[in-house]
Amino acid sequence: MSILTIKKAKKMLGDARALRGLSLDLEKGEIISLVGPSGSGKTTLLRSMNRLIELDSGSILFQGENIADMDPVALRRKVVLVPQESVMLQGTVKENVQYGPKLAGAVGKCDVGRCLRDAGLSPKFAGKDAEKLSGGEKKRVALARALALHPEVLLLDEPTVGVDPKKVERMEGTILKFAREKGLTVVWVTHDVPQALRVSDRIANLKKGVVKEVTNASEFRWEGAY
């Protein structure tokens, strides 16, 4: 069953044509990696999927409903973006993790320790000042913060850049577990093709704002990717 359907998405960013009629279909519970050179439209696509930016034309359907007709706040709580730059909000790690659930009125259901463990961080981090963490730690808090919202779709933009390899393994394991056990759909932007091969069910190769090809991870060929 399709959870997200992108139809002929077009988007200009300044003078650049970031998306040029891109179409893609995402199945519930799958992990799809978006690979491709810089400027191929990967980040623009992610930002369009939770309406941080609006498409110029084309449409994106979430569970059959055009997201342009949905309340953006409700959409962003279901289709959660973890941006490339992990900006920490003022306060402790705990306050960061609880930010989304608190706004949604579900702070009672938020197990901060669990979210941190899932993201590869010790629960001891909860009381630390989030802005003073290292780059890799911030990445993991950003993931924990997104998981705390219990999303249906997780949009990850280079989530493991700057994270040490052991923790990367932990983060990948968590995301795979969420996808397999809870039916979480994941769109994973990465430049790391071996990572895409490790975590994905399918890999979409983007070039100049369109999907050049979508293949099962096992059939993916490196040559055409960059």
Binding site: L52, P72, R76, L149
Partner: protein, 260 residues
């Protein structure tokens, strides 16, 4: 009693003597290459002409039996001028006058109504015009400071704001902290001048009343009334400008506006 111990003709002579100060200042500026001579002269001439124009207008208004007819136009002109001037402090924000003008108009008008109803402002042009000038002028300054701070906060904290939105915050929730900071920053000059009242300076209305021969206690009392009102108007204006700016800082789809 006017409190001024000379006629207007004698005043012109005294003003001429005082011009020597300006000439000395300009001479010093040229000598020391400070580079303010041209601007200082321009500002002095412009300010002087504006003040004399305003004085001439006031002279006729004070004599005019039906002074309250044109006064509404004057008040609206003050709000419009204030709105346009303040909008220039809004950085790249398009059509900022749409939020500055109503904010200044409402903040200023509410205060004038309270002043009138409380009896602090008799319905005479000698009271209405200067008080309106003070109230609208302060509302404009506070509006500029608040808006300038808010747009700068948006420009420097765009990634943080987007993070909040992407975690399900509404625009109101995302900008709450920045709005609070901007209002606070805009009110700092007013609060500081309140703290130093009577110590570092004697404010304009009290100085005027003292020169005109009013009892100092009564003059201080009136000054405090004026200050309370002026600050009240500033607070209303700043809250309003922050609330209204949300429409220009975010799109209908609750995204950060492209100009930010």
């Amino acid at each position: 009693m006017t409190g001024i111990p000379y006629t207007w003709e004698e005043g012109l002579v005294i003003m001429g003597i005082m011009m020597v100060m300006l000439v000395i200042a300009i001479g010093l500026s040229v000598w020391k290459k400070i580079g303010i001579a041209r601007e200082y002269t321009y500002a002095m001439i412009r300010g002087g002409l504006q003040l004399f124009a305003a004085a001439t207008l006031l002279y006729f208004l004070f004599e005019f039996e039906y002074w309250y007819y044109p006064i509404w136009l004057l008040l609206i002109a003050m709000a419009l001028m204030g709105g346009y001037t303040s909008a220039r402090r809004a950085g790249k924000m398009p059509k900022a006058y749409r939020i500055t003008t109503p904010s200044i108009l409402v903040g200023g008008t509410v205060v004038l109504i309270v002043l009138r109803v409380s009896g602090a402002m008799p319905f005479k042009p000698q009271f209405v015009i200067p008080l309106a000038g003070m109230v609208f002028g302060n509302a404009m300054t506070i509006c500029s400071l608040a808006l300038n701070r808010l747009t700068r906060e948006f420009e420097t904290n765009k990634p943080t704001l987007e993070t909040m939105l992407s975690l399900g915050a509404t625009p109101k929730e995302a900008m709450e902290e920045y709005g609070r900071m901007s209002i606070k920053a805009a009110l700092i000059p007013n609060i500081d001048s309140l703290k130093t009242l009577g110590i570092i300076f004697i404010p304009g209305s009290m100085a005027g009343l003292l020169i005109a021969g009013t009892n100092p206690i009564l003059a201080a009392e009136y000054q405090i009334i004026v200050y309370l009102m002026v600050i009240g108007g500033g607070i209303i204006t700043s809250i309003m400008v922050i609330a209204l700016s949300r429409r220009l800082l975010f799109t209908k789809a609750q995204q950060i506006a492209e100009w930010v």
